[in-house]
């Protein structure tokens, strides 16, 4: 159950224009996860270069073997105390979710399922429907 909280809801609030960018960002994260699966987090750090700081930090933690509750605790705390709002905060949540999924070796479909809700219900449903259609 997600406890409804006004402060968190306010931080997550984005304009329609900002939300329109999210599916593309999710695709980027899916690609990062896929590449990390193939080459490992240590090699991925070399490729990421000047990426988002949370992504880089999280990738270091992955490379050091962190996963599960400890990694979730660290990432949730960083999100909680951070100053980002709106689209940037939403993107950071997506990054954290991706890191957690990579840490436990979740496959692409599973990761996609976890990230789609960040697009909002309408986009998530239509994307899920697209995928089923492609599978046929």
């Amino acid at each position: 159950m997600i406890y409804w909280n006004a402060d968190l809801a306010a931080r997550l609030a984005c304009s329609p224009a900002e939300m329109a960018d999210i599916p593309e960002f999710i695709n980027t994260m899916l690609a990062v996860a896929e590449e990390t699966r193939k080459i490992g987090p240590r090699q991925m750090l070399d490729r990421l270069g000047e990426a988002d700081k949370l992504l880089l930090y999280g990738m270091h933690l992955l490379a050091d073997g962190l996963a599960g509750e400890i990694l979730e605790e660290i990432l949730a705390t960083l999100l909680y105390v951070g100053k980002e709002n709106g689209q940037l905060f939403l993107k950071r949540c997506i990054i954290a979710e991706t890191l957690l999924a990579m840490a436990e070796g979740a496959e692409s479909m599973e990761l996609r399922r976890r990230l789609l809700p960040y697009c909002g219900i309408d986009v998530a449903l239509s994307r899920a429907g697209e995928k089923q259609g492609n599978a046929h």
């Binding site: 159950m1 997600i2 406890y3 409804w4 909280n5 402060d7 968190l8 699966r37 193939k38 080459i39 490992g40 987090p41 240590r42 700081k53 949370l54 930090y57 270091h60 933690l61 992955l62 490379a63 050091d64 073997g65 962190l66 996963a67 599960g68 509750e69 400890i70 979730e72 605790e73 660290i74 990432l75 949730a76 705390t77 960083l78 999100l79 909680y80 105390v81 951070g82 100053k83 949540c93 954290a96 979710e97 957690l100 840490a103 436990e104 070796g105 496959e107 399922r113 976890r114 089923q132 599978a135 046929h136």
Partner: protein, 382 residues
């Protein structure tokens, strides 16, 4: 789920605006934090030393942290003590984030987590910049404290399997993360040094230094049988991962040939999963379910007969039951391949639940024979 964890933080502690400006945090918080972690790491299990450190500390909150470690009470008692000391009162002079940092760190140390992992958790409370600074400090510390491992071999049938599995570094990397440091360290403590070094090279500088320490500790505290048992548990995780990866690859290539849903049920899988769930100790089942998301539990429920289904639901609080059932309704039916994967995922989570964190001296990995047989049957499914 991450968003759930975030919501709980807000629910429990309110707004997250930090009072201390970033440039002041280093002097005020980061340096004392590093000093604290280093002292805890060096003190080890000598609890009397914590009383002395408490007396030497000037800050009340750090004094309290040392005292709680000296008393070695249960982790949940830390919050009680911090509240009674007034650190969460509106009139407290200690900023909320700092109080939360010390509370979390003390609780985590009381749970037995390694001080370096606790540092990573605590430094997060100061923001990403400070967390990065603490990580950099930890890297230097790890480089300076190199634990030299001697050759120490525990004969085991599983050792050959792990040697073969090392040909797939990605598989071992992920398995190490899923297993967690304590189990991973206990598992490889009895491997030839050459293989240990190969595994350590897969990790970052902090992870490999930490794993070295834990390997040394496992060798000192565990018997050969316990190390062999840890290796067996670890290999079950490796095998499960390997089979999941093979299934994923074959699913991707054969997606066009397969219908989206396969109406045939897998009676044997359902029977095995149901027997497994019915035989599990309630505590283990509860802790396994706690690590799974609602959709994952719902997926697993599709692999169960009615009685086992009921058992799983009855072990959850009513609120979560409702959410899982809603998720189950949304999921709909699944093909046999999906059912096997969901069952294997549950088996993997179950193995991780059996491995205690940390592995305490004298404690063996205890999986009842019948449960182990069911887990093996599920994990060996194709």
């Amino acid at each position: 789920m991450l968003i759930e964890k975030l919501a709980l933080l807000y629910e429990r502690w309110g707004s997250s605006q930090m009072e201390t400006p970033p440039h002041e945090r280093t002097q005020q918080h980061t340096l004392p934090l590093h000093k604290f972690i280093q002292s805890v790491h060096e003190t080890g299990e000598n609890r009397k030393e914590f009383y002395l450190l408490s007396r030497q500390s000037r800050r009340k909150i750090i004094k309290l942290a040392y005292l709680l470690l000296a008393d070695a009470g249960p982790p949940w008692s830390a919050e009680d003590s911090f509240r009674k000391a007034g650190f969460f009162a509106p009139s407290s002079r200690v900023p909320k984030h700092e109080a939360l940092m010390w509370l979390e760190g003390t609780s985590a140390l009381l749970e037995g987590l390694h001080p370096w992992l606790v540092l990573l958790m605590m430094s997060a409370w100061m923001g990403l910049e400070q967390a990065e600074a603490s990580y950099a400090w930890l890297k230097e510390l790890a480089a300076a404290q190199h634990t030299e491992l001697a050759e120490f071999i525990v004969p085991s049938e599983m050792a050959d399997m792990l040697t073969d599995a090392l040909e797939n570094p990605r598989l071992i990397e992920t398995s190490l993360r899923i297993a967690g440091m304590p189990l991973a360290a206990s598992a490889i403590a009895g491997m030839p040094l050459y293989h240990i070094e190969r595994i350590l090279k897969l990790m970052g500088p902090v992870g490999s230094a930490l794993l070295r320490e834990l390997i040394q500790s496992a060798r000192e505290k565990l018997t050969s049988e316990e190390i062999a048992a840890a290796l067996q548990a670890f290999m079950e995780i490796v095998t499960a991962r390997s089979e999941m990866l093979t299934t994923e690859e074959s699913e991707e290539t054969s997606l066009e040939e397969q219908p989206l849903t396969d109406e045939a049920t897998d009676a044997e899988l359902i029977r095995t999963m149901s027997e497994l769930v019915m035989e599990l100790d309630a505590k283990i089942l509860r802790s396994t379910l706690a690590t799974m998301q609602n959709t994952e539990v719902a997926s697993m429920l599709r692999c169960l007969e009615a009685l086992a289904h009921e058992r799983v639901l009855s072990i959850m609080p009513p609120g979560r039951q409702k959410r899982v059932l809603e998720a189950l309704e949304e999921l709909g039916t699944a093909g046999s391949i999906r059912l096997v994967r969901d069952a294997q995922f549950f088996a993997q989570k179950l193995l991780a639940a059996y491995a205690p964190r940390p592995l305490k001296p004298g404690q063996t990995l205890d999986i009842p024979a019948s449960v182990r047989a069911h887990i093996s049957a599920i994990l060996s499914r194709e």
